[in-house]
Symmetry: C2
């Protein structure tokens, strides 16, 4: 069940499919798009998920057990079940790659397929993009706030056990250095980190005994957790036992700014001038930003990261934007969306005009290209699935680089982090109403 992806869907996808098979529109060529309407008082969003989608669609089939479940519960007719039994996605998908920046109405993913095949992907594609991108966005903001200091993802315990793996992936794409999650380390080859928690200190007869055990198995290039009893005493004990070459101390309680300052002074006075200070405990991007003046070398971030730091879902929606009628492709849009879209399959570009990046999309790519002078122009959607075959591999180092480069087009860090509204509104080159 858990690795199976075709039944990770809403029941209405299958009842719509049934109606479409009945009325004969199931095989019409169609275009679906994913976009978001806002960013929740932030300047930008970060995409994560497309490379996972490409992989999931390779396994997108209904098993015997699943078909049997649908039959026993009268969810589908025999005809629909037989369609599902042989279903393999054979269409094409274009998407902003993992790590790319997006804005309201950016057409971040486009599916070209039969109506039926496009329809049935809706729930899975949104689940992946909405969760992964929410985490990547929060992570990217924390990386900006940390100004080059190390960030370690430690949020597994505060989210669903499966979600934790992809949260670690999203955080790494956005620039985190490592994760505490070993399953994520294995699945995605992300560096892992972690040394000691309070339990091991409490379990030993004394703090010193715990540090001795730690030194015996990890040497002195390790991180000592010093706040179980009294932080400054803990530091003295740690340096006594590990010596002044101790790699780092971690502080998980108290006021981080003042405790770190005191700790730095004490470490220096004990000759442990190179011992780093790692802070953890309910940090978000604001807390990290305010700790910029404190002598902190790295942060462990958990809860706020894996819950999207106040924006736990990206809010993407999946819309049919074009369908074949009488042999012609026509744009469609729900009434309440018609003010922001004419429907139709949009191609999106980003370019730098003077010092400022802008994003444009159009039903007619030639129109965008024609409007470009010597600006550098980047097509934002890349093929991830072509005629049913995955055409990208999940290369986390590539997505990390892409994220850094894309973000660098948007000017000074503090501006990007602090703006409460989108850094840019996408410019729709066409008869719609989106502003530039």
């Amino acid at each position: 069940m858990a690795d199976q992806s075709a039944l990770f869907t809403d029941r209405y996808e299958l009842t719509m499919l049934e109606a479409a098979l009945h009325s004969g529109i199931a095989s019409r060529r169609a275009t679906f798009e994913i976009f978001g309407r806002g960013l929740g008082a932030r300047g930008y969003g970060v995409i994560a998920g497309p490379a996972r989608i490409a992989k999931l669609l390779d396994r997108f089939t209904f098993t015997e057990t699943e078909l049997d479940y649908l039959e026993r519960n009268s969810i589908c007719s025999k005809e629909t079940l037989s369609y599902l039994a042989s279903l393999r996605f054979s269409g094409s998908i274009f998407a902003y790659p993992d790590g790319e920046i997006y804005f309201p109405f950016s057409p971040v993913l486009r599916v070209e397929a039969s109506f039926a095949e496009g329809l049935i992907l809706e729930t899975l594609l949104l689940s992946v993009l909405n969760f992964d991108s929410a985490i990547a966005t929060a992570a990217s903001r924390m990386v900006l706030a940390a100004q080059g200091r190390t960030l370690i993802e430690m949020g597994t315990r505060r989210t669903n056990e499966h979600a934790a793996l992809v949260a670690a992936r999203a955080a790494y794409i956005a620039g985190f250095a490592a994760t505490s999650n070993l399953a994520a380390g294995l699945e995605y080859a992300i560096p892992t980190a972690g040394t000691m928690g309070h339990a091991i200190v409490l379990a030993h007869d004394s703090e010193a005994a715990a540090f001795c055990a730690q030194k015996a198995v990890m040497g002195e290039d390790t991180t000592a957790l010093v706040d179980t009893y009294d932080t400054m005493n803990g530091i003295r004990t740690a340096i006594e036992i590990f010596g002044p070459s101790l790699g780092a101390i971690r502080i998980d309680s108290g006021d981080p700014a003042s405790t770190a300052a005191q700790a730095r002074q004490l470490l220096d006075s004990l000759g442990a001038t190179k011992t780093q200070i790692i802070v953890s405990g309910d940090l978000d991007e604001d807390a990290i930003k305010h700790l910029n003046v404190a002598p902190i070398d790295g942060f462990g971030v958990g809860t706020k990261l894996v819950t999207g730091s106040g924006v736990p879902t990206a809010g993407f929606v999946y819309k049919l934007v074009a369908i074949e009628r009488n042999g012609e492709r026509v744009g469609v849009a729900k009434q309440s969306e018609a003010k922001t879209s004419d429907g139709g399959a949009k191609t999106a570009y980003r370019r730098t005009r003077g010092k400022r990046a802008i994003e444009e999309f159009s039903l007619d790519p030639a129109a965008v290209i024609a409007s470009t002078s010597s600006d550098e122009l980047r097509e934002l959607q890349i093929p991830i699935v072509s005629d049913g075959e995955a055409v990208i591999v999940d290369d986390l180092e590539r997505w990390r680089r892409l994220h850094r480069e894309s973000l660098s087009e948007f000017g000074p860090t503090h501006e990007i982090l602090n703006t409460p509204s989108p850094l840019l509104m996408c410019r729709y080159i066409g008869p719609g109403t989106l502003g530039g």
Copy 2:
């Protein structure tokens, strides 16, 4: 990978294990407890997850692939790897069952095991309880707000694809009637619901053509989505095609209160007096409460449910509270926790004193029982794993009933829903400082 649970853990659990094996404390008998410190401006929390934990621990082993990963990355020594290779959890777990109400400092789960075996469960147990309970708590509040009207869980697309299954489970335990998620329907035998989305209406040449296709496959006892173009026109078209026996209409846009009132009037005037009105679109418990006067028969709830309606994680922590030293069990607590706990294994009870439910826990169960007169007394922790064997089955109907009954001990619905602070503080019978 995805179904495997032993590697769903933080690296520091294994490095702590290594230190414990080295210093010889790994086999000491120990007690770990899970509790939360707050409820995020709410009156109560709802537990979900323990029955899942019992099932997950049945599969809690490290595979060859995982051990190989740990070795290749020098995460563990040979000795630790050999310990992990033969590791099966052989301890016992007691927990507030799925559906039970909890408060700050309620000892919601207790592990009795060797230090090593207890230690290594931390991350997985917290992941399950923190996510599942966050969703169950949000769901329970929505059920209270809906005052008997039907609630359908539709949030799959707004959370991780795996997390969505257990979100559906948690919502059902808390009183939701159904889920849209088919995989959850198969995995947990939860009733599923869902009919049509906007795509199927847009895909047909007209709204009428879409309704005809729907009627052909689903009959008239179905739900027509009427707001794709113009809601009132949509209702007229729906009644023309399905007839006045149409089961329900769904409205997913506009102001729900006024639209529902208009819709009810129109439906009645068309003779469709029994056609129900279902509303969906970014609802939370407050929105649902404010719609109490509107003629709405049911709600579809998505985003706010699966993201915990503002509290996306329950914030539970896992603490070593007792360990064997020189053959005796001694209570332990981190300094910053010592003000609220003396450590030690706590047994918890709830009882009704006069009209008011109270909760007490003690290191000495006899003390609680002795302090009881004729009050009804319920032991809150039940065994879920005994000597390594799961001793409960995941019976969702039982947890639903338990939730309803437990909640009924706390007085009028509106009071429970609206209070911004815990309905009660647990009373610690012992030398600690928790108030009654």
